[in-house]
């Protein structure tokens, strides 16, 4: 990977002037990922915050070609673009080597776009899919998705006399992609830019489909201050809520293993976010215990996978 200084001096591929919120994780992730894209790219973005805020007609923040058409079809759209490229390249009508990347939020990836993504990776198109996971439908004003963590308040998993917020655990999307037996699957976080960028570079240069799931704090939906995005990303990893790992041709590698004393309780991370505030009122101790138990179970499971696979 190039040195940080070299990367910092590269021209921006997502320019400033876009209208994402202060502290939004999405543009931080996009800029880090695009900075290591080895050549000209075509980007597709599913409907959501990133799309509406970076392409307000007649302006665009994208320096590469970009196409948005709908919410549930980033996988299918990039399949079409990549196939057109292969067709025209084979015919000698295009000379350049180009790269193809799709960005979707968790709503557009875990939920409504899962079929199109599954189809695209099964067909083996040569592209990178990046899910910027902020854990809810933030663009429409904080509705629960299958990526929303258990216990979180959203407007469709509200807190009330009979409810402590979302009662289900998150869908394990990276594992679904691993089950497709694609060449490269990884999770990443913007606080560890070196890890994120080396994974993005691998994803771009791996022939065939590659998938990155990147945590992307949302100050509005998480009810957190805008200057805590990177700190919250770090703590998500330290608590093992968001383990950093990669699966290369079926081989697991955990990129960060907190030592026992450094592995922070997930409640510490949750306490800093307004979406979990209700859980810290008396009477919810059992819910917090269940959440911690689930995080620990998933972490243990991952350690075993790394050992065995």
């Amino acid at each position: 990977m190039a040195k940080p200084k070299e990367i910092a001096n590269k021209p921006e591929r997502l320019t400033g002037g876009h209208r994402l919120c202060a502290g939004c994780g999405a543009p931080i992730n996009v800029r880090q990922i695009m900075s290591v894209c080895p050549g000209p790219a075509v980007v597709t973005v599913s409907t959501g915050c990133l799309e509406v805020s970076t392409t307000i007609y007649p302006y665009t923040a994208w320096k590469d070609s970009m196409i948005h058409s709908a919410f549930e079809n980033a996988g299918a759209t990039i399949s079409g673009v990549e196939t057109a490229y292969r067709s025209l390249k084979k015919q000698g009508r295009i000379k350049d080597d180009m790269y193809f990347v799709a960005f979707g939020g968790d709503g557009g990836t875990y939920d409504i776009g899962l079929q199109a993504l599954s189809g695209a990776v099964e067909r083996g198109h040569n592209f990178v899919y990046v899910c910027y996971d902020n854990g809810a439908y933030m663009n429409t004003g904080f509705q629960r998705s299958s990526a929303t963590p258990c216990g979180a308040w959203t407007t469709t998993s509200p807190v009330g006399k009979e409810s402590y917020g979302k009662t289900q655990n998150r869908k394990d999307l990276a594992q679904i992609l691993v089950a497709h037996d694609i060449p490269y699957v990884a999770t990443a976080s913007p606080h560890n830019f070196k890890d994120l960028m080396s994974k993005a570079e691998k994803a771009f240069t791996t022939p065939g489909p590659a998938f990155l799931n990147v945590i992307s704090p949302c100050p509005r939906g998480w009810r957190t201050p805008g200057d805590q995005t990177i700190a919250l990303s770090r703590e998500a990893v330290q608590s093992c809520y968001w383990p950093l790992y990669e699966v290369e041709n079926g081989k697991y590698k955990i990129n960060y293993k907190p030592k026992a004393e450094k592995k922070t309780p997930v409640a510490d991370w949750m306490k800093k976010q307004g979406r979990f505030a209700h859980l810290f009122k008396p009477g919810n101790e059992a819910v917090l215990e269940d959440i911690q138990a689930y995080i620990d179970h998933k972490w243990e499971e991952l350690l075993k996978k790394e050992e065995c696979l």
Partner: protein, 394 residues
């Protein structure tokens, strides 16, 4: 030119093969499946240069077609019925992005209840999604329209997607005679595809499908989209004329049969036009002044031309192969009656809904319809505007 015996689907697959586009994305659905699988075989045999995307749904078929066409590749797909309904959202987006995708639609009833046979619920339901719509009567017209669609869609004055319809099973699955052009003739007729602002132009990156909301230009974009649709009217005629010079089969927006002195005119679309034509000849032999107008272009709707062609008729019977729930009549009926509102004198117009879910249209049904129109022509009161042919009582 050579003469072959082919199914409607076979004819269309052959037309697409002769054009040999850059990309096809397709998903199988009855009765379109033969096109998807024939084309996959052409690819497997190396008979075409096309890259084939065997997508996992019709929504993805149209989404991939949009990505591919916007990238700069000549792109096709094909569908029917539920597949058409599933790609609904993307049909509007393909048209609004001004992407010249072409798509044969093998018309079939829409669920529910599920029914795999022919009617026009699918394509007629999508009449306002911004695509040009050309309807064919038989395999030959399906073949001819599929070829012309590229020239119309890609014309600089138009730049809109085109769907070409044939009737499911009745035409798609039946073997009929087909005049086939040489591959080189087809290639020369459609010419090279010249994309506008393609995504793959590295020197000129472009953002496609930007956010165009309040404070944007959405309204203006819709108006210009409709202006392109209006310009397509002339382009469809010009391409149809040129195609006629090549093949001896000129095309326009509609075809008429015996309407010059006709008091009663039946308007039909799709394969039923052939049945009606046969009956017109039979009734003419009995001295009845009956004629037929067969609609080819439904979007854009050739209002002035049809009004002029029907100006001599006293009574018009419009045959619809789809119903429109809660509306004044079927889609073709409401267009024709609206077109004739400004005719002087204004004819009486009735609607005959037939063939839903593949129900047969018999000669007796057409004769019955004409008998009803004759009553109206004779000045008798006909209570209802909308009538159903060959439908069982309650």
């Amino acid at each position: 030119m050579s003469r072959k015996a082919m199914t409607g689907n076979g004819a269309i697959a052959l037309a697409l093969k002769q054009v040999d586009p850059d990309v096809m994305s397709a998903y199988p659905i009855t009765p379109q499946t033969e096109i998807a699988q024939n084309y996959a075989q052409f690819v497997a045999d190396g008979a075409v240069k096309t890259e084939y995307i065997a997508v996992e749904s019709e929504h993805s078929a149209m989404s991939a077609a949009i990505g591919s066409c916007a990238a700069g590749a000549r792109t096709i797909t094909a569908t029917s019925s539920q597949g058409f309904a599933l790609m609904w959202e993307m049909l509007f987006i393909a048209a609004s992005l001004r992407l010249p995708i072409t798509m044969p639609v093998i018309t079939r009833a829409l669920s529910g209840p599920i029914n795999i046979h022919c009617d026009h619920s699918d394509s007629m339901g999508g009449r306002d999604c911004g695509w040009i719509q050309l309807y064919g009567e038989d395999a030959q017209e399906g073949y001819d329209n599929a070829i012309q669609a590229f020239r119309i869609a890609e014309h600089a004055d138009v730049r809109l997607p085109v769907m070409t319809m044939i009737d499911g099973f009745i035409i798609s699955g039946a073997i009929g005679p087909l005049e086939v052009l040489q591959d080189a003739q087809v290639k020369q007729f459609v010419g090279e595809f010249e994309p506008l602002h393609p995504l793959l132009d590295v020197a000129n990156p472009v953002t496609v499908g930007a956010f165009d909301s309040l404070g944007g230009w959405y309204f203006e974009h819709k108006v210009t989209q409709n202006q392109a649709m209006a310009r397509a009217m002339q382009v469809i005629e010009d391409v149809g004329r040129e195609y006629g010079e090549l093949t001896g089969r000129p095309y326009s927006h509609f075809k008429t049969h015996m309407i010059e002195d006709a008091e009663i005119v039946l308007v039909a679309i799709g394969s039923a036009a052939g049945n009606v034509k046969t009956m017109v000849d039979k009734l003419r032999a009995q001295g009845k002044k009956v004629g037929l107008l067969k609609v080819r272009t439904f979007r854009p709707f050739p209002t002035e031309q049809i009004r002029a062609a029907l100006s001599g008729a006293r009574v018009i019977g419009v045959m619809d192969r789809s119903d429109s729930f809660g509306a004044q009549g079927g889609p073709l009926f409401t267009e024709i009656r609206s077109a004739m509102f400004e005719a002087e004198p204004r004819p009486q117009i009735f609607n005959f809904i037939y063939g839903l879910g593949g129900r047969d249209l018999f000669p007796d049904d057409i004769e019955g319809a004409v008998a009803l129109l004759e009553k109206a022509a004779a000045g008798e009161e006909v209570a209802q505007t909308r009538h159903y042919l060959n439908v069982r009582e309650g």
